[in-house]
Subunit: 206 residues, 4 copies
Amino acid sequence: MKQTEKPNGRAERSKQAILDATRDLLAADGDVGSLTVEAVAARSGVAKTTIYRRWRDKWELALDAVMIDMLPSFANPVDVGDTRNELITFVDSVVKIWSSRPYGPAMQALVSQISTQPELARVYRERVVEPRRDQLAPVIERGIRRGDLRPDTDVRLVHEFLVGPILYRLLLSGPPLDRKLGTRLVDGILEGFKPPEKAAGTKRRR
Amino acid sequence: MKQTEKPNGRAERSKQAILDATRDLLAADGDVGSLTVEAVAARSGVAKTTIYRRWRDKWELALDAVMIDMLPSFANPVDVGDTRNELITFVDSVVKIWSSRPYGPAMQALVSQISTQPELARVYRERVVEPRRDQLAPVIERGIRRGDLRPDTDVRLVHEFLVGPILYRLLLSGPPLDRKLGTRLVDGILEGFKPPEKAAGTKRRR
Amino acid sequence: MKQTEKPNGRAERSKQAILDATRDLLAADGDVGSLTVEAVAARSGVAKTTIYRRWRDKWELALDAVMIDMLPSFANPVDVGDTRNELITFVDSVVKIWSSRPYGPAMQALVSQISTQPELARVYRERVVEPRRDQLAPVIERGIRRGDLRPDTDVRLVHEFLVGPILYRLLLSGPPLDRKLGTRLVDGILEGFKPPEKAAGTKRRR
Amino acid sequence: MKQTEKPNGRAERSKQAILDATRDLLAADGDVGSLTVEAVAARSGVAKTTIYRRWRDKWELALDAVMIDMLPSFANPVDVGDTRNELITFVDSVVKIWSSRPYGPAMQALVSQISTQPELARVYRERVVEPRRDQLAPVIERGIRRGDLRPDTDVRLVHEFLVGPILYRLLLSGPPLDRKLGTRLVDGILEGFKPPEKAAGTKRRR
DNA sequence: GACTAAGCGAGACGGTACGTCGCGTCTTAAA
DNA sequence: TTTAAGACGCGACGTACCGTCTCGCTTAGTC
């Protein structure tokens, strides 16, 4: 049995120490500059070499550190018989994670690296984007079956409509991510912006 | 008269050389790392000192360089009598700028700095986010007057629904920014995802 | 019986493998840098631990490796009835060993460590310098008895006159160690540099 | 005028600080390990980069540091009408420099690098070996003219006879470099080791 | 038409962190 | 019990850019 797989072996212990130190540093302040491999090494009581043995550079480390406990915190929307509520559950979990430390600031700091380094992008898509879309898919399916959503509703498009605006606020457009944001987004895309009287008779253009 | 204000003085000439070099380096490859102050100095035939005299650091320089010719390229949607077309014009100009060099890659590279440094964020909002919202406002107003949009349509929300998903694709979710994207986004938010027969009788919740 | 003393025990076999690997690496190229403990371990198929069990550090190992087969290769000058020839035999064995691989390059690489670390210096003197002087002593004694050398000839001084210049060439002054070098050195110290007519009547100053 | 050539410019000041720190560290203890570029930087209040800008590695720096004030300290033997005294003057200056700090220990530490790195070897020969031989040449010439030395006396050989044994003691054979050493060496090579009565009638073999 | 001071090129500098290398120690599983 | 395998703490390496700092030279604008 390899050492790395042993639950409480030295390898595992130092790995945890590194990830903890990384999260601490990311949470300490939003400054990307605070996350240095040397600082992680110092804080975790681990040698720099040990860090580089496991992660190619500090961005891979940071992504790992934030993803590992970001993933389980996603609310998995269960069937509550109400599509709107299920969508709000989904979108609120996005708002919640990105408005909490260290995840919001970490995302701000990491996003340039993720979108720039193909390997990081691949990992992020595989481990975050796709799982989240897979969580949303059954909600959409149930919504269509219930008659709450158009039969041709595209999961990918809905996903982008729900997450994109939150990302835009987090990164560029500024206003804080407040509690009501999720509800407004869900209502926005459910109802659309055409006035009801006109919407009734409109043929959907695609 | 100060030299800086003279149209073709030494100061102005070197400023242009610096901005040009910056754009060249950003366009050369998507790698952020290629943009170093020393590289800019070398390529523009200017001393590093001269760069630091004008910009606090390379991120301010980079933001300046890309904003300066990004701004005039925004399509200003004119009144064509059709709200949907006007919205598509707006959103297509976002898709277009972010899918072209060096603006897309530059945005990917800069977004972490913008969202992390308050001063950069302020500048970006003042000079990009708000002007774009100001462009969108008359479109929304005309749409409401024409009866194409609900009377309570929120410009800010529509803006975020149109730009957010594009940003999400550019940075994280991956799929390329294609030509049909703008149309799909506009139709998505106009119609909403409720089926027509139900949407007709629904009371909007806000 | 301890394993270390068993002629073909595991201990003895790995010791030989380590020494062989060390010599190979030293011979491979003159570069000292090629001799790393990790390289020795890899090449000998032995764990680093096993090396450190036997040698304090790589310099002790290296010195051991080169001394072990350097020692028996010393020509032990036998009584051939001619002092000059016996001295040439002695000095030529020094020239020969230091102009061959890996001994010359190894000496160049090791000399700083030997002269710097007291323990290594002690070992080198006990196992190389003194045995060689002990080889030279009977040659000098026979030379004095035969009337070929002054009665007060100092073995230590002759030894240093014969070996020193060779070492100087090997390490610093540069010219290659050629075959005639031994003869020139022996003649140089036998005759001295005073002209014969004067030397005859000179009283030796000491 | 280049800054580097300015006698008290920043460049020159930091260069001196670096060389001083290097000598201090070399003198502090004979340990080679004490001479680290980082230690030199720390002690001299200079950035590591500044050191690497001028010297390829710590060995070039060390060689420079010791050579610079070793060279002027060489006693240049003047014509005192007595060849033996002039030779003793020469050889004593070698004994003296190598028995003083930091030059002796530094030489012990550096000799492996000098003899191993062709570039260092070239510098050492050009700046130390050859100048010293050039100092010895006129002594030999005068000695021949005076009839104190054989007409075919080879400067190179005499030089090696005088310096080699000292080097051998410094590095390997052990006994300290004492004050009488120079005299013994000069007498040794002047008289040779053949007994006077035999030496008179001997034909020199070369 | 010379004088002078601001702005500039050039590039060395102190500094921080990088990612790498090899040392010598320590842990673990298998022989 | 000893070994091979190899992770680890450590310390230094040499590099890359950062942003600051002289230093003369250029170059306008003033006298």
